[in-house]
Point group: C2
Amino acid sequence: MTVVDAPRARYRQVADELREAIRRGEYRPGDMLPSQPDLARRYGLNQTSINRSIALLRAEGLVRVEHGVGAFVQVVPTVKRTRRVPRPGGGGSSFAEEMRNAGLTPRTQLVSVDTRPAPPAVAERLSIGEDDPVVTRTRHMFASERPVQLATSYIPIAVAGGEDIAHPDVGPTGLYKRLAARGFKVTRFLEEIEARRPDDDEAAFLNLTEAQQVLEVARVAYAGDRAVETVINVFPSQQWRLAYEWPAPGDEQA
Amino acid sequence: MTVVDAPRARYRQVADELREAIRRGEYRPGDMLPSQPDLARRYGLNQTSINRSIALLRAEGLVRVEHGVGAFVQVVPTVKRTRRVPRPGGGGSSFAEEMRNAGLTPRTQLVSVDTRPAPPAVAERLSIGEDDPVVTRTRHMFASERPVQLATSYIPIAVAGGEDIAHPDVGPTGLYKRLAARGFKVTRFLEEIEARRPDDDEAAFLNLTEAQQVLEVARVAYAGDRAVETVINVFPSQQWRLAYEWPAPGDEQA
DNA sequence: TAGTGGTCTAGACCACTGC
DNA sequence: CAGTGGTCTAGACCACTAA
């Protein structure tokens, strides 16, 4: 239903055809695409143009390129993350649970626990001063040994008391119990979702191009009006679907 | 903290410098960047390479290009869309309300109301047969006359009775009242969020490159176990931030 | 018309990988 | 080493917009 009969650029047509060939199963996940010189001959185009076509498919996450090796059809394990509201433990099922529901084997690797000055975005979310110390916990998550998620949580030192609150590695439920025991009973959650380009570290861990995007889900837990914890999750946008579920007003028992 | 001392491509460096110049306010929102031949001279590069740099900035949403006119620094009206749970009317404030909160002037244009066979994705969400008729309503939304959102809602004809349910154009609150009057009292909502590339129509209306992404938020309203309506919202991912807020279990009054 | 951005070429050179 | 992808050039032509 386009108004103008837009002539499609040839490098886009090539991308379309490759996309379609992948969809048809002509190239299967893990397969290597023909080399760029090959494709150039095949489509009567220059390698430069073919390179552009491949770049499109990379940005879509449909193809993964290894420099000096080749371009491979990407396995895209789409995972669904659901927040059911209300629900114990912050409203969400755990990462491990979600993974197993998707038929994948979860693994979480604790990268670091330390106390650091709060980055600006975190300070703002927690309503504390920049560089106020926060207990920081970083995890790398894998689904069947493929990196799929990156999570960092921050708790103001004034709330946490010390790093012990994060040791041994505890899930949200355990953490909120410990916070409650310290007098910070969590009453409310806020999640903000944003799409953005990955920074260098994220791109490296998640194996993304700069052209691809990530979803950042930032959750803040409040005890009354006081923000006591924030968790920042980063997902490759192509591999995830987020879901939120809640009862209609006046129908809270759902 | 990159391990390898990656030599950055020159077209990326140019993009970095332009990005930085925009951040510094050297080019302000709405300003036109220098032409590609200009930039090529300035950076000692070919126009082809400069074009790549601009393409990067486009994909980031930092720059908007008008063919035959120039490249302009994008006004990024980051708009926040919040679902507060529970809350009357489906949990969300209206589009108009959100826009005014962001200091923008909202406008909604009703594009069409008709009865059509359900597209596959819609049929699945509504648990009806493909090609079962659904009352379909499409709206284009503008913020201060810039296109920012596209919404299509679907109601099975068996639920709606007829197209009248969508006339005159009604917001969600009015619609759910009418559905309740027809015996379909909405008790539960589900929203699924997905990042994907825009299709041609979406790209045309929202003025996006194929390299950019949109967020698709698909809401389904349930009356008991029966899906009675679904709305599919499409946003340019750069311009929006989604938020969900809910009380912790045992603290429902928030 | 002149100026803008978009595409494409033919060829070159480089960086990376695996043999 | 040969084969892969990534970048860049110099130049060309096209499409679109505004005057």
